[in-house]
Amino acid sequence: MNFSFSEDQILLRNSVRAALDEECKPAHVRAMAEDPRGYGEAFWGEMAKLGWLGLPLPEEQGGAGLGLVELALVLEEMGRAAYPGPYFASVVLAGLGLGLAGSAAQKEKWLPAIASGRARGTAALLEDSLDWDPAATTATARPSGAGWTLDGVKRFVPWAHVADVALVPARSPEGLSLFLVDPRAAGVTLTPMVGIDLSNRWSEMRLAGVAVPAEALMGPAGGAGRALEALLQRAAVAAAAEMLGAARRCLDMSVGYVKVREQFGQLIGSFQAIRHRCAEMLLEVENSHAAVYYAAWALTAGAEDAAMAASVCKSYVSEAARTVCGDAIQVHGGIGFTWEYDLHLYFKRAKALEPLYGDAAYHRELIVRGQVVHAHT
């Protein structure tokens, strides 16, 4: 039993933090919000060299073969920096998704490209209804010649505008299936969906008679449900790791602020109303830390309670990050409501992730469903 980071893990976190402190200052986040592609290619190349882009991918495909704990460490730092770019989309959604559902040939084609930064990927997991249950998929895949024809509308597809490949669930005659789709293929229309989070990009992805070859199918036709569930669990924990980072940044900024801000002739951090709020924020951050790293470990180790831990993690952290980042604005007062002050970058990053990969309500229902079937011992 050891719930602490190894020396290597601490070194990894420190190096990621140092690089982001240097390359991803708030000014960079703001600049990228105005950039057509939304992220810096130079730093992307740097991340490839540092091994971040292949971190959880197999060594045979150019990855580092590390687990979700290490991935969560990197993502927490990215949340803390509100890193703008397709890291989550490419490494978590496409990288882990290919690992879970891809054939040997598909992995060989895409994983080295993702690990080296040559290609970026994403996954189109949401539709109009916002139901995260993969079984709710309505997009269709019709057999057509040797391949398939895809139709449907996907929403909130992260970083699709810079992606070379997207994992797209669609219903084929056999059932729920998963396909690799080129977002620039004929019949695919991408429309930006601009949210409040300046560090994120979403697209609506409209598929109208999109022809894909037979080798675009991932796994057996009709057999995508399990892989999608597994991907959703990993994405939920990964998103929670970013939210944890954003929440920690908001807490740190708040604590720093209340130590220097004076009202009524005193530092406001000396007032119990403020101090108690900060203490509650710390408690939520520390509990979130435990939830994220427990779940990351459980999924990597294949622990019996891994699925439960993922739902515990996302449901807990979704609300904890909401509370902490919101309280940070409150503690700051007026300055926290200004565009110029950086707090909103992190507040919005956490907010954007709150409903994604299952919101708290979705995961709580999964928890109870799991329990009724499988009583805790």
Binding site: M1, F3, I274
Partner: protein
């Protein structure tokens, strides 16, 4: 990071489980029966586990202590008696006591030959414990004690008490306090039970009038009492960290079973979406408490003292317990308020925090205590703010001068 138990820990857990199966009494009705169970636990090597061997302890690791407590919770085993002796007084003597004090007192705590209480809080010194007024006056060969204590757990059973009293009213209030061991079986000590909102009397009021404490029973040096009291509050050392969660989980499962029977709007409450959301949230909170306990145990195993971090743990679980019990009451309705005549389906089959009353009503009422005892949630937040986050101290009227 590896959250699996080692082979040694798994084997130890199995050993404890087997021992409990063979030795656990079916029922405990009297104090004598509980003392007998206490002694059997001690002889089995499961009490005072973290204490040094030369004083009757086992020199066990924190994880082993946590496993024993956890297995006892899992089996619904009755608690040993002398809880304050085991949890607070013994560790205080181990750390701060003289060799003579260790030889004199420790073993008899473990065998329950001598029962202990803790004399800290006073009517006007609760959260502001350092404002305590009970006086200890040096009479040459002994100290003379006058004053009143309250919230004294198990005071009516105690042979001895760990006492905080003021020895120097002239200095700043935190600096004039000393720590003593006091004989409770003397004419100057009057113990009166205090009935709580649970209807039971686990606590007492203690009145001391010209009571006597021998010079040899001063713990630490004069004026060091406040520092000693600060450390004793952290002595639980994660020992019950896992056991607490196991008890919650057992209660939760019984709540789910009740929610399956009970109906609202023509269907089982367990099928109600709102209730499911609330149950899901509580389970997530409960699991997060468990993960936190594993974090605390990791630190203890590495020999790190949780320090102010213990305030985060205490704040988290005590506030959780209130939320959990409020949900139980919501689901159980009036069944949750029954203290007698409870149908078997709605009884609570676990050893509750302090007594054996197996009702939800008792557990619910008792949940109100957790955010008050051993430093209220508000005090914990002050500690977290000042000692972990480094926030400025508030302006306080009592920062300067003596006691009054």
């Amino acid at each position: 990071m590896d959250l699996t138990y080692t082979a040694e820990d798994v084997a130890f857990r199995k050993q404890v489980r087997t021992w409990l199966e063979q030795n656990m009494p079916r029922q405990i009705r009297t104090l004598e029966e509980r003392k007998a169970w206490h002694r059997r636990l001690y002889e089995g090597g499961y009490l005072g586990m973290g204490w040094p061997r030369e004083y009757g302890g086992q020199g066990a690791r924190p994880m082993e202590q946590a496993i024993v407590a956890d297995e006892m919770a899992r089996a619904g085993a009755p608690a040993p008696t002398n809880g304050l002796g085991l949890g607070i007084v013994g560790p205080t003597i181990v750390v701060h006591g003289t060799e003579a004090q260790k030889r004199r007192y420790l073993k008899k705590i473990l065998t329950a030959e001598e029962m202990w209480c803790q004399l800290y809080s006073e009517p006007n010194a609760g959260s502001d414990l350092a404002a305590l007024r009970t006086a200890a006056v040096d009479k040459g060969d002994h100290f003379q004690i006058n004053g009143q204590k309250i919230w004294t757990s198990a005071g009516a059973l105690a042979d001895w008490g760990l006492l905080l009293a003021r020895t120097d009213p002239a200095v700043a209030k935190h600096k004039g306090i000393s720590c003593f061991l006091i004989d409770m079986r003397q004419p100057g000590v009057d113990v009166r039970p205090l009935k709580q909102i649970t209807g039971s009397s686990e606590f007492c009021e203690v009145f001391m009038t010209n009571a006597r404490v021998e010079k040899a029973n001063l713990i630490g040096r004069l004026g060091e009492g406040w520092g000693i009291a600060q450390t004793t509050l952290g002595y639980e050392r994660g020992g019950r960290a896992l056991a607490r969660i196991t008890t919650y989980a057992s209660q939760y499962n019984q709540l789910v079973a009740a929610a399956r029977r009970l109906r609202r709007n023509g269907r089982p409450i367990l099928d109600d979406a709102v209730t499911r959301q609330k149950l899901g949230r509580i389970w997530a909170d409960l699991e997060v408490e468990r993960y936190g306990a594993l974090r605390v145990l990791t630190a203890l195993e590495r020999g790190e003292h949780p320090g102010a971090g213990g305030s985060l743990t205490k704040l988290s679980y005590s506030e959780f317990e209130k939320r959990f019990m409020e949900l139980a009451e919501e689901i159980l309705g009036p069944y949750g308020q029954l203290t007698d005549g409870v149908p078997p389906e709605y009884r609570l089959d676990v050893d509750t925090a302090i007594g054996d009353q197996g009702t939800w009503a008792y557990a619910f009422l008792w949940s109100r205590a957790g955010t008050i005892y051993a430093g209220s949630s508000e005090i914990q937040k002050n500690v977290i703010g000042e000692r972990i986050l480094g926030l400025p101290k508030e302006t306080r009227a009592d920062r300067v001068g003596g006691t009054r």
